[in-house]
């Protein structure tokens, strides 16, 4: 079970990198929006609220109509629900990814 999750995790990581590329090159996303999103995601991770975490993420990613994003969502959907520790790992991975692309997008 554990090995399987690790494999899924590394797959998610790879496709998440592609997602980040898409977002970073997109003109539509403002820094301020990403900042807000990060706050929401952070509080969801802290409270171990996987439901709202996915909710915020899907709401945001829904605005992009790209193959990379739907692939990422599919993979993500497969691993949920997660035990708390793994959820934190994944949650912070996604949050820190967003933090690293904060100002690349347009204002």
């Amino acid at each position: 079970m554990k090995g399987k999750t690790i494999k899924l995790f590394s797959e998610i990581k790879q496709s998440f990198n592609k997602v980040l590329n898409v977002i970073a090159t997109s003109e539509r996303v403002s820094t301020r929006y990403i900042e807000g999103l990060i706050y929401s995601l952070l509080s969801a991770v802290k409270a171990n609220d996987q439901n709202s975490f996915l909710n915020y993420l899907i709401t945001f990613l829904n605005t992009f109509n790209r193959e990379e994003i739907s692939e990422f969502m599919r993979k993500l959907y497969n691993v949920f629900p997660l035990p708390e520790e793994s959820f934190q790992k994944l949650g912070y991975l996604i949050i820190m990814g967003f933090m690293s692309i904060k100002v690349r997008g347009g204002e």
Partner: protein, 558 residues
């Protein structure tokens, strides 16, 4: 006829001083060397050469004089320092003070031993001459005690002077012309108690006989002698039971006999001398399997002791070890080093034996200049007003957890709102701790003697330095992001305080939450490289908290 060949054979045999790996017997050898060094000032090399050239002169001539001299000095010390007499408080005249008296006695030994040549004498003749010297020495000691008694008399301290006089009368006779005659040597040993010449019921003639027995040359293993001998030795051989936390190769008379070859008793009677007396703190000796190194450390220890204040034993010991290590670069010897300590002896039982060892990994780290210097300071970890200082290097070598010490120290400084200047030292100490913990985390089923067993040690320092590199990388970028915060020191302080709280609860989730929400406030992004690095450290390193503490310390220092 057989006797002569035997004698000749013995003369051919060279007595070498070498350690065998059993600390008990090795410390006996160390005691022997230390004695000759303290009294005659001979270095190890000189002692070895003399043993090669003129063993009978050493054992029947120089050694007994030095040995008795050492115990006479010890006796004087006991009078001088004991609570019953309090001579150290009373005596104000310089020539009567302990250090001058001691120097006088050592000079006397030196004079006596250098005045005549004994090259063509046989062992018995040498010993006869030696005994005359010992008597002179005992007389000199008597006249010193007499000097004290007269002084006390002059100061009208009758009670003490009476007491001292009684002690004097036990050992000496005073003729009408004020000439001192020795009735018995005023020597005493808690360690050997009644053994051989220390038996208090002996008079001077008997003591002479016993001393001769000690320094005489014994034939190689002879069942009958051994049996006689066995009882005598076992009287003071410490059993494993009495030193429960010490493992040393259980040894018996036969082994010891073989080890010390012709003069087993000489060495066995030197065990006590190897230890350095630190007053109420106990007796300490340093031991490693390397004779030269052990000798140098112990000599340095006694030199340091003379200069230092009381209560600093451990600091001194470690200082002596580290300095010598550094000087001699004796890396291979790092494996087994112990400090052997005992509190006191009563009725031949050693009380409060401690056995402090430290491992190779820690010692290698200490050999690195930067790490050693960073650890070599005291920090105050007392809360509030009271101060409680710890010496980092000592704690480190004793295997204590530096992380919690530094965590404590840092949170104290933070609550006192005190600026501290030694952040880089603290971080270096954390790096050392990180490297030790990292090393201890071996994968399960790890085999001891794989090819990387020998490579492992040097990588210790590399781990420490990679910690520093990573930390520098992360902290510089985070500092850059939150740079506006440095304008309001109070806000920065409260952020660090909150983060520190989560850290002391080991709450990874809250730590990340607070840190990331703080970073999110500022427009500057985390670069992908740094964000990966942070992620890896926090979620994939079992010792993430050491990184986190280092980060906080770095952030606090602007």
């Amino acid at each position: 006829m057989t006797n002569i060949t035997y004698e000749a054979e013995l003369r051919m045999k060279v007595i070498e001083l070498r350690f065998s790996g059993n600390w008990y017997t090795d410390l006996c050898i160390l005691g022997f060397i230390k004695l000759l060094n303290e009294i005659y000032g001979w270095e190890l090399q000189e002692i070895r050469e003399r043993l090669r050239k003129e063993p009978h002169l050493i054992f029947a001539g120089y050694f007994p004089v030095a040995y008795i001299g050492w115990y006479l000095i010890k006796r004087l010390e006991r009078f001088y320092l004991s609570r019953d007499y309090r001579l150290y408080d009373i005596i104000e005249e310089n020539p009567l003070k302990l250090e001058n008296v001691k120097a006088r006695l050592i000079n006397k030994v030196y004079e006596l031993c250098l005045e005549d040549s004994q090259e063509n004498c046989n062992e018995r003749e040498v010993f006869e001459k030696t005994w005359q010297k010992i008597e002179k020495l005992a007389e000199a000691t008597g006249s010193i005690i007499l000097g004290w008694i007269n002084y006390l008399h002059k100061r009208k301290l009758e009670r003490i002077s009476k007491k001292l006089e009684n002690e004097f009368k036990k050992c000496y006779l005073l003729s009408a012309s004020n000439k001192i005659k020795v009735r018995k040597l005023p020597i005493h040993s808690d360690f050997y108690h009644n053994f051989m010449l220390f038996n208090p019921s002996l008079n001077v003639e008997k003591q002479k006989e016993r001393l001769q027995k000690i320094v005489q040359r014994y034939p190689p293993l002879d069942e009958e002698i051994l049996r006689k001998f066995d009882r005598t030795i076992n009287k003071f051989l410490v059993s494993e039971k009495e030193i429960p936390n010490v493992y040393y190769t259980p040894t018996n008379a036969e082994n010891i006999y073989k080890l010390f070859e012709q003069y087993p008793l000489v060495f066995l009677m030197c065990f006590e001398i190897a230890f350095e007396n630190f007053g109420p703190l106990g007796y300490y000796a340093f031991y490693s399997p390397d004779l030269e190194f052990t000798y140098y450390v112990n000599r340095r220890l006694s030199a340091l002791k003379r200069r230092a204040k009381k209560g600093d034993v451990l600091r001194l010991t470690w200082k002596a070890i580290i300095d010598s290590l550094y000087e001699k670069h004796a890396k291979w010897v790092l494996e087994d080093m112990y400090i052997i300590k005992y509190k006191s002896i009563t009725r031949q039982r050693i009380i409060g034996v401690e056995y402090i060892g430290f491992d190779k990994a820690r010692a290698t780290l200490i050999l690195d200049d930067r790490i050693r210097e960073s650890l070599n300071w005291r920090i105050n970890i007392g809360e509030g007003e009271e101060s409680r200082t710890v010496w980092l290097i000592e704690r480190f070598l004793q295997g204590e957890d530096l992380y919690s010490i530094i965590l404590n120290y840092f949170s104290n400084q933070l609550s006192k709102r005190e600026e501290f200047l030694e952040a880089s030292k603290l971080i270096m100490a954390l790096a050392a701790e990180y490297s030790i913990r990292h090393r201890n985390k071996e994968p399960r089923g790890h085999r001891l003697f794989t090819s990387d067993f020998f490579v492992k040690i040097p990588t210790n320092i590399e781990i420490a330095y990679s910690y520093l590199r990573n930390l520098e990388m992360i902290s510089s970028i985070i500092k850059k992001i939150i740079s506006p915060l440095y304008e309001e020191s109070e806000a920065l302080r409260s952020l660090i305080t909150i983060l520190l709280e989560t850290l002391s609860k080991m709450d990874k989730n809250s730590f990340m939450h607070i840190l990331l929400s703080e970073l999110n406030k500022y427009p500057e992004p985390l670069t992908p490289k740094i964000s990966k690095k942070i992620y890896r450290i926090i979620f994939q390193d079992s010792y993430w908290y050491i990184y986190a503490l280092g980060l906080l310390i770095k952030l606090y220092r602007r």
